[in-house]
Subunit: 233 residues, 2 copies
């Protein structure tokens, strides 16, 4: 995904990042640059660059005479796409998936409402195209093709909202949707009601009906929450 292992320090990060986010080194653990450099068989300069990156993600803190200490989870930059990927690939994947789905339930309805106000004609066309693609692949175990259109749909909505903060959540939503299809219970064809909702959202956005787009999207996210048993009924 994205840009894996571009350079030695990238390879180090691909190993150290997942290890830290997986809790392999508990908070407060102390690492030493020199030892890490030896362990990964890279020079200290490369190791230092890797540590700097981890530091910018607030995963670790580097202090003189002490070493590189792992910070508590509460301080991590959990919105960093890299951190999200590492965590989704690790042990607390379920927990991370829940957190992100709740975030979706907050953001996507509002984004859809804004999209109804700001979407360009091109974006509206793209949206209906995605919705049609979902319908076309909603039966007959064509989950992979369905997923592609589902991801594209939500990405367009978030982008069309015109808010850059929302737009940047496109990748996150993509990860969540992909995770749901690939690792969670998703053997059967998708819920027909959900498919219909997506079509209706596309319609509402095209019609410029913000409240309706918001409410319909809210129902979609409620479905996502229920799938993970998050919603207290």
């Amino acid at each position: 995904m994205s840009t894996p292992g571009r350079g030695l320090h990238g390879h180090v990060l691909d190993t150290l990042g997942p290890a830290i986010t997986a809790g392999e080194y508990p908070p407060g653990s102390v690492l030493r640059t020199d030892e890490l450099a030896q362990h990964f068989e890279v020079s200290r300069s490369v190791m230092r660059e890797a540590v700097r990156v981890l530091e910018s993600m607030h995963l670790v803190e580097s202090r003189r005479r002490v070493g590189v200490t792992v910070r508590p989870r509460a301080e991590w930059n959990v919105y960093d796409p890299q951190v999200i990927r590492w965590r989704l690939a690790g042990a607390d994947r379920p927990h991370q998936l829940r957190s992100l789905t709740v975030l979706r339930s907050a953001v996507e309805p509002v984004a859809a409402g804004l999209a109804a106000q700001h979407a360009t004609a091109e974006q509206c066309a793209e949206l209906t195209e995605c919705a049609l693609g979902m319908v076309a692949n909603s039966r007959g175990h064509k989950l992979e093709k369905y997923l592609v259109h589902d991801i594209a749909f939500h990405r367009v909505v978030l982008t069309a909202s015109g808010n850059e903060m929302f737009a940047r959540l496109g990748d996150v939503v993509a990860e969540v949707l992909a995770g749901r299809t690939h690792h969670e219970v998703m053997f059967e064809d998708p819920d027909p009601a959900a498919v219909t909702l997506h079509v209706q959202v596309a319609e509402a956005v095209r019609a410029g009906d913000a409240p309706r787009a918001q409410e319909l999207t809210r129902q979609i996210t409620v479905g996502a929450l229920q799938e993970l048993d998050i919603l207290a009924p």
Copy 2:
């Protein structure tokens, strides 16, 4: 704020980061590590570490034989607290403030609803304490003291939601509230209606009334949107 200039590479970032996020180097601009190192009067190793950090924020991309190129805004990690601070300190502060306020309007109501379900007794107490502090400083141009309690209030709500993604937005909200008080139109005492809403939110959370907490918080964020003339009435 937070950890300024810890080390030489930190000082470089404090200058380069704001410059890039301010659009001083337009997307596609090419920088060269050696030149930058000379310009900042640091060694190449230090400069390289700084570039690595900028790269992890997706502000720049480093490629062999070409140099360090500035990426388009759409690819920046806009949720990185450091990036947010840089942008808030720079030219597109108003734009950033709007984006973040819209994000708040999506997240905070949902967070308040969850807080009503999950807040501990201690958090409820803290919340009412903050609300009382806001009331106590709502008249007589005690804006600074009011701000402190306002920030604390929203931080507690986000934390009490039990969702780590929401919790990590505490700093962002703090920046937005501080920015509103310090740089925007906020000469007079705060809107009494807003103060009342905060008190009522504290009550609703304590009572475990999620829908009410959510609706009241929605009204607070609507007020914030109106202050920035975002809401189309």
